[in-house]
């Protein structure tokens, strides 16, 4: 029997948010790459919420963009509403979120993939990993075709042995009724990869024309739009926005849920997978928080040219009839019709502690994994991992050191460090509270933190890099000028200050000192500063304001980071035999053996490894 056999540098399995970034990065770095998807119509599919970004996730997207990834650009092309969350709070938690036109998002990403040099897009189910000893050699598809490759990146999302459940209805499908991948995880197991089972869920989609919006609160987008991509200006992407709507559940809704809770596969124990606590189903919320008399529901459009509306806040695996009954108790949804049911989905995934921080599987050379298969959740978390896996697969083939961001460089570093160090028992979601240096890891300065790295990798081109350097220089020069320019306590100044409710000067101060005052900022003191250079962009001014106003806090975090880096720099050899390290407690030895950290810093973050154990390790390593 004749089989197709082809040769590639990199095979990427799965064209979701991780797979797209991985394939684009590898191809852009010159690797001959093939990207497999079970359906060409479902590339970069958003099977759950119709938005990108949000608290901490927005940070991830901006970091992906600063490194040369695609997600930010794609959402800028396809958004239908944009909001900067937490604007009234500190700059570290300002978070960008955009509603997407889902169909358009898929279309635009597919086009980008198809236009990419060195990249082949192929619809087929990959069923087998082909290994040569402890090295990956390629994959086989359902039809028996063989694709040889020097590196393989698995971005299988929630498709491995997926089953969707609501009530007692079970379909053996992936999200959105798509074909599940029922073979690949067996092949992974045969090759010694530990597989476990996670669960997540999605709410129903409703028919817009059956909703009474007059009973809901309208949620409009921002008037001032901040693009996700640093390559875009507001005027490039401004458009008319589409509203979301807010409504609430009530006691009647909750009564229906309580009365039918025995019919929930979650509570009957039929669902075995571990679900995420931060994204609970409505039945979870009602049972866990009995005192809450109502829960928020967001009605979000799934796109510009569809009648489907996403029912945010009501993910569920209750039976169809109960879904209908409970939804129709909600103001504005009394006569609603469901287009797609809510469902829970279970799937195979791996334990990411078996990965190196480069996302390469520790025991199989050349095999990388990214996205939900690593036990994370969310489009943005997936994209961030996909990008890093793509970069590191390519760098491995280029015989270069992997790029590993640490916790002080970005949310991406926090995300991957958490995944490979702490065995999470539920799908992992990013949160700003997970980032200990979040004052430094702001969404507004992602470019300043990461563009150098993106350029060095080869994903940022010269034109973009030159523009970036220009911006950075302008910030530095202007900060220097503001520090050095003194302003005297003359009458104009004093009058200005009292008019702005600011204390009068006793001696001359620098302009920087004035900007530091809570009631003033760079723009408001313009009249006192005739020498200021013209044409500084809004982004530059923003950096100046933040870096001056929060200097004390920022300096303190930089000191913490220096301390942190000392431990990160102390490397642990890959071939260390922990049996050889006497005095380690047994628990510590087991944990270290399971995670095999690359640095003492990483070792210290493993739960169950004490400071005394770290001392023992330091002695052993002579560090």
């Amino acid at each position: 029997m004749a089989h197709i056999e082809e040769n590639y540098d990199v095979v990427v399995v799965g064209a979701g948010h991780a797979g797209c970034e991985a394939a684009l990065a590898a191809a852009r770095m010159g690797m001959e790459t093939i990207l497999f998807t079970v359906s060409m119509d479902s590339v970069a599919l958003m099977p759950c919420n119709p938005n990108i970004g949000g608290s901490s996730k927005g940070h991830l997207v901006r970091e992906v963009d600063a490194l040369g990834g695609e997600m930010g650009k794609n959402i800028d092309k396809t958004y239908i509403q944009s909001k900067m969350l937490n604007r009234s709070k500190g700059p570290a938690v300002h978070s960008l979120r955009a509603q997407a036109d889902k169909v358009e998002y898929t279309k635009q990403m597919r086009l980008t993939l198809q236009r990419q040099e060195h990249l082949t897009l192929r619809q087929a189910e990959v069923t087998e990993l082909i290994l040569d000893e402890k090295k990956v050699a390629g994959v086989k598809t359902y039809s028996g075709a063989v694709y040889h490759a020097r590196a393989v990146i698995l971005c299988t999302g929630t498709y491995l042995k997926a089953r969707c459940i609501y009530g007692d209805v079970v379909t053996h499908t992936g999200p959105n009724g798509l074909m599940a991948a029922n073979h690949l995880s067996d092949s992974m197991k045969e090759n010694g990869i530990f597989i476990r089972r996670f669960k997540t869920g999605t709410p129903a989609r409703l028919d817009k024309k059956t909703i009474d919006f007059s009973k809901m609160e309208e949620q409009k987008g921002d008037t001032h739009i901040v693009p996700f991509s640093f390559t875009n200006k507001e005027e490039d992407i401004r458009r008319e926005q589409i509203s979301c709507w807010l409504t609430y559940t009530n006691e009647e809704t909750h009564d229906i849920i309580r009365a039918n809770i025995d019919r929930s596969p979650l509570f009957s124990g039929f669902i075995e997978g571990t679900g995420p606590r931060y994204c609970p189903s409505i039945e979870d919320k009602v049972m866990k928080f009995p005192d809450k008399t109502r829960h928020q529901l967001f009605i979000e459009p799934e796109g510009e040219f569809t009648n489907e509306m996403y029912l945010g806040g009501m993910s569920s695996s209750l039976p169809e009839d109960v879904q209908y009954a409970m939804i129709r108790t909600v103001p504005g949804l009394e006569k609603v019709k469901i287009v797609r049911n809510a469902y829970a989905i279970e799937y195979d995934c791996i334990s990411a502690i078996n990965l190196k921080p480069s996302l390469e599987y520790r025991d199989i050379s050349g095999l990388f994994l990214a996205g939900q298969v690593n036990g994370s959740s969310g489009y943005e978390e997936a994209a961030a991992q996909g990008l890093m896996a793509g970069i590191n697969a390519a760098r491995k083939l280029q015989e270069k050191e992997p790029v590993v961001l640490d916790r002080s460089q970005g949310y991406i570093g926090v995300l991957i460090d958490d995944l490979v160090t702490k065995e999470t028992q539920e799908p992992y979601r990013m949160m700003t509270s997970r980032a200990e240096y979040r004052l430094l890891l702001r969404q507004d300065n992602a470019d300043l933190r990461l563009t150098d790295i993106g350029y060095e990798i080869g994903l940022i081109d010269d034109v973009r890099y030159a523009a970036f350097c220009e911006k950075r220089n302008r910030i530095e020069e202007e900060r220097k000028r503001l520090k050095e320019t003194m302003i005297g306590a003359n009458k104009t100044v004093q009058d200005f200050l009292s008019a702005h409710g600011s204390a009068e000067l006793k001696t001359a101060v620098s302009l920087e000192e004035l900007i530091r005052r809570p009631e003033l900022d760079y723009d408001s003191i313009a009249s006192l500063d005739p020498e200021r250079p013209e044409g500084l962009s809004e982004e530059v001014v923003e950096q100046i304001n933040i870096s001056i106003k929060y200097e004390g806090y920022i300096t303190r975090q930089i000191q913490q980071v220096e301390h942190f880096r000392k431990m990160e720099k102390k490397r642990i050899p890959a071939d260390i035999d922990y049996e050889d390290v006497k005095n380690l407690r047994r628990e510590a030895r087991q944990k270290l053996e399971a995670v095999r950290p690359e640095s003492l810093g990483q070792a210290s973050r493993i739960s169950g490894v004490s400071p005394a154990d770290i001392s023992v390790l330091m002695i052993y390593l002579g560090a």
Binding site: S55, G90, Q296, T432, I619
Partner: protein, 467 residues
């Protein structure tokens, strides 16, 4: 590589009545010079010479006489500049000297840090370092368990309560930052400010009680219990005996009890409620059954005095019942008189109560005559055995652990003050939680709890998040 200057109490407390504090690191000599007044400055002393002088507080008040020994890099254990300060010992005094050094720029050594530096400096080889680390490991674990044990009472409760409060606030704020459309922070800063004030009050109280020596009472907490006329005060006097000279009297803040720490062959006994014993022979009558029970409950070790010349009575009965699960040494007193108590019967009763019928453990009974002063050697031997078998936990590392606790409390205070400052400056709620979590972590170090994923657990557990 430049390392921070570390210090630690290097010797057993009270052994020979002298305590040694060791300082090591680049600033060891200048820091020692700040606290030591001798005929010349330590900086001017040649390596491996000693000088006599005083340890002096910032106020100029003399804390103690001391001998300092200076050893210059690289010919020292750690290969760094090292200063040893030999004081007159006494737990309270040593602690004060240690704190004085901390205030002057040293920090407390981590467990095994001297040894680590010695190894890194090439002074000792791996197997030597490992041997030392083994010991330190064991000591440190004992110290931790001991201090945690001390913290089991109201104080530990207080710290847990404070942490809980801090975690709740942090979780709420973080939930609101994560899901701003669901949780509002409207007027939350005012509420937080009030709670931070209360927390600060708590921290100050803890710091004060530490200063008064009430917070961490080193030594094996020992209760002397027995029915009226069993001979408790003679036993107390026998124990204090010739060791009187190095007994430290610390007046408690409550002023109604006198606490005593006595050193028996290098083991510190912290005697509970000796005031009662001193004032009257009849402790049970004076302080009542409840108080005696409470003392048994608080004790790490109970010395149960039985009058061997009289039959057991109902007082002995309830005392024996109250001993369930405790570490007990029973002293069958008055063996100079005719013994009427059936030792076999007593043993059976004690075993039943202390260990339970099925246990293979045997109760410890020593025959003594407090009046004649016989049996003290046997008591000391017993204590030493129990101590080194790990049945009684207490060791020198505890002092250091406690100094670390104080450092941690000071950090808590600093962090909370920063929270207040951020609230005042209206910098945004996300700034509060950074310092709140720092305070939370510092408090956790005191009760030996690491951070782990408490915050995420709290957020998901208390607040309803998500789409």
């Amino acid at each position: 590589m430049v390392r921070e200057t570390i210090c630690a109490i290097a010797t057993g407390m009270g052994n020979s009545g002298i305590g040694i504090i060791r300082l090591s690191g680049k600033d060891a000599i200048p820091i020692a010079d700040k606290v030591f007044r001798g005929r010349k400055r330590i900086a001017d002393m040649p390596s491996y010479t000693a000088a006599y002088g005083n340890i002096v507080l910032e106020s100029g008040q003399v804390l103690d006489e001391a001998v300092v020994l200076v050893m210059r890099a690289p010919h020292t254990y750690t290969t760094e500049d090292t200063v040893e300060i030999d004081c007159h010992g006494g737990s309270i005094l040593l602690k004060k000297v240690l704190e004085l050094l901390l205030r002057n720029g040293a920090r407390t050594a981590e467990p095994g840090e001297f040894t680590r530096r010695a190894y890194l400096g090439g002074r000792i080889d791996m197997s030597q370092a490992e041997a030392v680390m083994d010991l330190i490991h064991a000591k440190n674990e004992m110290a931790l368990s001991s201090s945690v044990h001390q913290l089991k009472g109201a104080l530990g409760e207080k710290i847990r309560e404070m942490r809980e409060k801090i975690l709740y606030h942090t979780a709420y704020i973080e939930s609101a930052l994560d899901d701003p459309e669901n949780y509002s922070l409207e007027s939350y800063p005012q509420k937080l400010d009030k709670d931070v004030d209360n927390l600060l009050k708590d921290v100050d109280n803890l710091l004060n009680s530490y200063e008064n020596g009430r917070l961490f009472q080193e030594g094996i907490r020992t209760a002397i219990i027995g029915r009226p006329n069993a001979g408790k005060s003679s036993v107390l006097n026998m124990i204090l005996g010739e060791e009187r000279a190095i007994v430290t009297d610390v007046e408690g803040t409550t002023r109604d009890t006198l606490e005593e720490v006595v050193n028996l062959n290098g083991i510190l006994l912290y005697l509970i409620d000796t005031a009662g014993i001193r004032d009257t022979v009849d402790i049970v009558e004076k302080i009542g059954v409840d108080k005696a029970r409470e003392n048994i409950g608080k004790a790490d070790l109970v010395l149960y005095i039985v009058d061997g010349s009289q039959p057991l009575n109902e007082n002995d009965e309830w005392i024996i019942k109250a001993l369930a699960g405790k570490k007990v040494i029973t002293l069958l007193n008055k063996n100079d008189l005719k013994t009427v108590v059936d030792r076999y019967h007593l043993e059976k009763l004690l075993k039943q109560s202390i260990f339970g019928e099925a246990s293979k453990e045997e109760p410890v009974i020593l025959e003594i005559s407090a009046r004649e002063g016989t049996g003290k050697e046997a008591l000391i031997e017993r204590l030493t055995n129990m101590f080194f078998n790990g049945k009684l936990s207490y060791n020198d590392e505890l002092y250091l652990t406690n100094a670390r606790h104080k450092e941690a409390l000071s950090e808590v205070k600093e962090s909370l003050l920063r929270v207040k400052q951020s609230i005042e400056m209206e910098v945004g709620e996300d700034f509060y939680t950074i310092d709140l979590m720092a305070a939370y972590e510092s408090l956790g170090r005191i009760i030996g709890e690491a951070l782990e994923d408490d915050l995420a657990d709290k957020i998901f557990g208390e607040f309803c998040m998500g789409k």
